[in-house]
Amino acid sequence: MYSNVGSQPGVQQPQTSLPPNPFGSAFNVAGSGLIRGGLGAYGGKILGSSSEYVQSNISRYFSDPQYYFQVNDQYVKNKLKVVLLPFLHRGHWTRITEPVGGRLSYKPPIYDINAPDLYIPLMAFGTYVILAGLSLGLHGKFSPEALNLLFIKGLLGWFMQAALLKVTLLSLGSGEAPLLDIIAYAGYTFTGICLAVLGRIILGYSYYFLMPWTCLCMGVFLVKTMKRVLFAEVRSYDSSRHHYLLLFIALVQFPLFTWLGNITINWLL
C-alpha cells in the first residue's frame, strides 16, 4: 500500500510543515499555522546562518545543520544527564576532534557527548510551549493567542541567551565559535525550564525547589562549556577576567529562568 514511488531526496530541510486540517476547525487552523510559522522561522534562521558561515573564510567546521542532527537515543539520554546534572559528569568537557582533509574538525554528536546538537534544544523548546499551554489550560486561561504569546516569549528568551553567550565570547577576544553552536548551547536552557514547569504542574511547591536547582545546573553547565570553548580558541588565558565573565553567565541564568518559567498572559512578567 505504501509504495514509495520515486522518492526523490530533494532539498532536505530540517523542519516539517503540517497539511491544513480538512475539517476546518478554527482552533486547528490556528495551531497548524502556529507550528508552520514557528518551524518556518527556525528553518530560515538555521539555513540563513548556515549559508552565511559557508561563505565565511573562518569557518573551520562543516557548518551545515545536518551535523547538529546526527543523534541517537543513547546520545540524547547522556546529554540530558549532562545538562540536568552537570556535577555527575565524570571525564572531560573537551570535544573530540578528528583530522579531515588536513583540517581539524569535530566529531558529530553521535560520537561525542560534549558536542552540541539542535535536536534537544528544539524538542525542549516545543515541550516548553506545550507545558505552558497545559499549565494555562489547567488554570482556565488557555487560548491559542496565549500559546502564540508564550512561543514568542520563548523565542525571545532563547535569543537573549544566545546573545549573552555571543557577547561574552566576543568580549573575551574569541568570536569564532559557529553561530549554530551558540544557538545549541543557549537552547539547552529549555530543558531545565521544562523540568521546573512540569514540577509545578504536578506538585505546586516543587517549583520553588526545582527552579533554583535547574538554574544552578544550567549555570554550571554553561560555565564549563564556555570555558572549554574559550580554551579552544584563546591560548593566552587571562584568568581573573575570564572567571568574572563566566560567573556573570551563571548569575544571569537566575533572572532569565524566572522570567521564562513564569507562565502568565502578560509576557513582560
Binding site: 505504501y2 514509495n4 522518492s7 526523490q8 531526496p9 530533494g10 532539498v11 532536505q12 530541510q13 530540517p14 523542519q15 516539517t16 510543515s17 503540517l18 497539511p19 486540517n21 475539517f23 476547525s25 482552533f27 486547528n28 490556528a30 495551531g31 502556529l34 507550528i35 545536518q66 542532527f69 546526527q70 543523534v71 541517537n72 537515543d73 540524547v76 539542535l118 535536536y119 528544539l122 524538542m123 516545543g126 515541550t127 510551549v129 506545550i130 499551554g133 497545559l134 494555562l136 489550560g137 489547567l138 488557555f142 487560548s143 491559542p144 500559546l147
Partner: protein
C-alpha cells in the same frame, strides 16, 4: 522527523505521515463533543488518543527511513509534541 535525517526520507513523506496520524486526534475532536466537561476524563481520553497517534506515526516513519530503528525514540517524541499541541486545542 528532525532526527530521521538518513537521506531517503524527504519532506513530503514526513508531511504525509504526520497528516495521516492526525486522524486519531480528529476522532478525539469528534468524541469530545459528547464527553462531559470534567477535566480528568478529558485528559485521560486525550492521552489515549495522543499515544495512539504517536505510536502509529513513529512506526510509519521508522518503516520508511533507513536506519530508523535507532531513532525511534527521538521520532516518537517529536510526534508526541505535535499531537499534544493539537490535543491542547481540543481540550481547552
Amino acid at each position: 522527523m528532525l532526527a530521521g535525517r538518513t537521506g531517503n526520507l524527504d519532506l513530503h513523506t514526513c508531511t504525509s505521515v504526520v497528516g495521516y496520524c492526525l486522524l486519531p486526534v480528529v476522532i478525539f475532536s469528534a468524541l469530545s463533543l459528547f464527553l462531559p466537561v470534567d477535566g480528568v476524563i478529558r485528559l485521560s481520553v486525550a492521552a489515549v488518543f495522543v499515544l495512539w497517534a504517536t505510536r502509529a506515526s513513529a512506526g510509519l516513519v521508522v518503516s520508511f527511513a533507513d536506519g530508523g530503528d535507532e531513532h525511534r525514540g527521538l521520532i516518537a517524541y517529536a510526534s508526541f509534541l505535535i499531537y499534544t499541541l493539537f490535543s491542547l486545542l481540543v481540550i481547552f
